[in-house]
């Protein structure tokens, strides 16, 4: 039954991927990408990874779709037909895909009790989570305590991503001392001229739109 559910979900995902490639309406592409994420979340539930499913549903299907639509609001609604031949990218994708599938042949069977994932350190976590941390959900104790340093790194990654996007989208230099602000932002003298150029570009576009 679970195999059937997975097969249906994965087939739908493949169909949606083809739809995303073929479709010229970018609005439709954004919605299809959201549906793809919901199907992915369902696959994650079938794999008993409810945490990942929650993340996929809210980030992949929710927030990403909203960001795609917000971007579409500022650009054109339709993709231009591609002028280049798709042969080389198609061949590259097929070769890389075949290599990845070949790689999975060496993996141990999914969910097997004797796999390294289930024999290496997982039993230690399962046996010691409650006595050592009083937390019954081993995923939480592994993430926040046993591997707390990794999670700290992940939090810093999110912080850095937010910082980068906010600097790109909101880091407009004030009129007059644009050079100072840009230099303060990236601290790299060589790229100041380039950054200045792009900020002038932004200002010009703002004037044109207002």
């Amino acid at each position: 039954m679970e195999a059937l559910v997975n097969m249906v979900l994965l087939t739908l995902m493949a169909v949606i991927t083809v739809g995303i490639i073929r479709m010229r309406s970018l609005f439709g592409v954004a919605i299809l990408a959201g549906i793809y994420s919901f199907l992915m979340a369902s696959v994650m539930i079938a794999l008993d990874a409810v945490d990942v499913a929650m993340t996929e549903a809210s980030v992949g299907a929710g927030i990403s779709t909203v960001l795609f639509l917000a971007t579409l609001y500022m650009t054109r609604r339709n993709d231009l037909p591609s002028v280049r031949s798709p042969v080389v990218p198609l061949a590259l994708s097929l070769v890389v895909g075949a290599a990845l599938i070949y790689g999975t042949f060496e993996l141990p069977a999914f969910g097997g009790a004797a796999t390294p994932a289930n024999t290496h350190i997982a039993p230690y976590y399962l046996q010691n989570s409650i006595p050592q941390t009083t937390v019954p959900n081993v995923v939480t104790s592994v993430l926040a305590s046993y591997r707390g340093f990794d999670t700290f790194g992940e939090t810093v990654v999110i912080f850095t991503a937010g910082l980068g996007i906010l600097l790109l989208l909101r880091g407009r230099p004030r009129a007059g001392d644009a050079g100072d602000v840009v230099a303060g932002v990236d601290g790299d003298g060589a790229s100041v001229g380039e950054a200045n150029g792009s900020s002038d570009d932004v200002n010009a576009r703002k004037r044109a739109s207002s």
Partner: protein
């Protein structure tokens, strides 16, 4: 803007439950699936839905951009602060066992605080990214 009456009323009814679910995922993360990251994106999703239906201005009156900007580093600082606190109590960085009299209680407190840090940074980053995108569209 009167045409979207059904959307507005339905959204108003859904918002408190979305926030409650985010808090449930956050504080029940010790017992069930979930944790700071999931709770953060659900809470940010709630605010984004509010902004989509009621407008960016209304959302920014609830949570202004400067609060978001302050909260993004705050979560990381809270996480790192718990680590440094553990060092001050005589343990290693992020060794929560020394935070309380019993090591298990220290672990529990540390996990709670660290997850709160993740929640703050994730929620505010997601909301900040959305604000930044939506402000460009105005």
């Amino acid at each position: 803007m009167k045409l979207d009456l059904i959307l507005r009323i339905t959204t108003k009814l859904m918002l408190p439950f979305m926030l409650l679910f985010a808090l449930y995922v956050q504080f029940h993360g010790d017992y069930g699936p979930g944790g700071g990251f999931q709770a953060g994106v659900i809470a940010a999703g709630m605010m984004i839905l509010y902004a989509l239906i009621f407008g960016l201005g209304a959302a920014q009156r609830v949570i202004p951009m400067r609060w978001v900007m302050a909260a993004i580093p705050l979560g990381v600082l809270l996480y790192a602060g718990v680590g440094v606190l553990a060092m001050l109590f005589g343990g290693e960085f992020l060794n929560y066992s020394v935070l309380a009299e019993h090591p298990e209680h220290g672990q529990h407190t540390g996990i709670l605080l660290v997850e709160a840090g993740v929640l703050i940074t994730v929620a505010s980053t997601m909301l900040g990214i959305f604000y930044a995108f939506a402000e460009r569209g105005r």
